[in-house]
């Protein structure tokens, strides 16, 4: 089957798919006329029940915490899967590393890039922690905070070099941090079970002022664990890819 035939078949099938999809979507209540009872019900009770002013994080870590456990483990599995897929090949490459690296020189990083990356590393780490610890108050949360935190470490690689990045985030330590994050989330849920409540029920004291850092019980704790796990997962992912591209240069340096 030639590419042109494939393209024609796709255009016909794609037109059918698009037509049905559009037909289905126009059956919805229309943009802006949200009728659903679930969202309005949650908005009515969320601040009073959880003492968290960030209703999205309350939904994420309290009302639908079980879904979030699943999503977090998708992240965990993807990082582990990458390590498995790429580690198998490293053994093969080591043997021919010297042949491949002959005559290749490393371009120096420009001074401007190094300075800007250095300047932003500290604020990125602080911002990441701030985001991960304020899930219950404002638009923040473990997921965003974890990604910004991982970005801080990647900035270390941009400002310095691969070896500095590796020294700041050794694989063993990052693995342990990721495991602590994932296990902490599950353990928080299990602690509720041991206390005789349903899994992932909010069992810590809820605090007085909605939206304060110490309010909303387990939401803040879970958000902290999720931040750890997401940051570690992304550092591992970037580290694995960096290993692939830079292992050869490291040998010749």
């Amino acid at each position: 089957m030639t590419p042109a035939q494939r393209r024609w078949i796709f255009l016909v099938a794609g037109a059918g798919l698009v037509a049905f999809y559009l037909w289905g979507l126009t059956g919805l209540p229309g943009f802006g006329n949200y009728p659903g009872p679930y969202g309005t019900a949650i908005l009515r009770v969320a601040v009073a029940q959880t003492q968290a002013t960030g209703v999205v994080s309350a939904v994420n870590f309290d009302y639908r915490g079980f879904d979030t456990v699943g999503e977090e483990f998708i992240l965990f599995t993807a990082a582990a899967g990458m390590a498995v897929v790429l580690r198998h090949l490293r053994g093969e490459r080591d043997r021919s590393a010297l042949d491949e690296a002959a005559g290749r020189d490393v371009p120096a990083t420009s001074g401007a890039v190094r300075m800007v990356a250095l300047l932003f590393t500290g604020p990125a780490v602080v911002m990441g922690w701030w985001l991960a610890s304020h899930a219950q108050a404002s638009p923040s949360g473990g997921f965003q905070g974890g990604v910004v935190l991982a970005t801080g470490f990647v900035l270390v690689y941009l400002a310095g070099e691969f070896l500095v990045f590796k020294r700041f985030s050794p694989v063993d330590l990052t693995d342990v941090v990721e495991a602590v994050g994932a296990a902490g989330f599950v353990a928080t849920g299990l602690t509720a079970v041991f206390l005789g409540m349903p899994y992932l029920k909010d069992f810590l004291p809820l605090g007085q002022y909605p939206g304060a850092v110490s309010s909303s019980g387990t939401i803040a704790l879970i958000s902290f664990f999720v931040g750890l796990e997401v940051a570690a997962a992304f550092i591992l992912i970037v580290g694995e890819l960096l290993d692939q591209t830079l292992l050869v240069r490291h040998r010749e340096a």
Binding site: G32, N33, G54, V56, S57, E100, L131, P139, S140, G141, F143, Q144, V147, V148, A150, T151, V154, F234, I237, V238, L241, L242, Q244, T245, V248
Partner: protein
């Protein structure tokens, strides 16, 4: 539901919000087309970053600041990094 009958805490008229949303939606659609039609992967990464920023603006205009934060960090930092690292790795083996 007419626009005038909606109770809103906005300080700008509701019609302005509509115009803003339609504009950003058109930009997002154009950027998505641009991402697909850029065949070179190295250039596509840059267009993907622009698309990520436009998506973040769209989410902000849809009153979702949490999703904006996520999309901004992922689309402007993490995705370009892993894509460029993969391309560097692949190009190295082609030499």
């Amino acid at each position: 539901m007419s626009v005038a009958s909606v109770h809103t805490p906005y300080t700008v008229p509701l019609a302005m919000m509509d115009v803003l949303q339609v504009t950003v939606l058109l930009l997002v659609a154009a950027a998505a087309t641009g991402v697909v039609l850029t065949r070179q992967p190295a250039r596509q990464v840059v267009v993907l970053s622009v698309y990520g920023v436009l998506l973040a603006v769209l989410f902000l205009v849809f009153q979702a600041p949490d999703v904006t934060l996520s999309e901004l960090t992922i689309g402007a930092v993490v995705l370009p990094i892993i894509l460029l690292l993969t391309l560097a790795k692949v190009r190295k083996r082609e030499e």
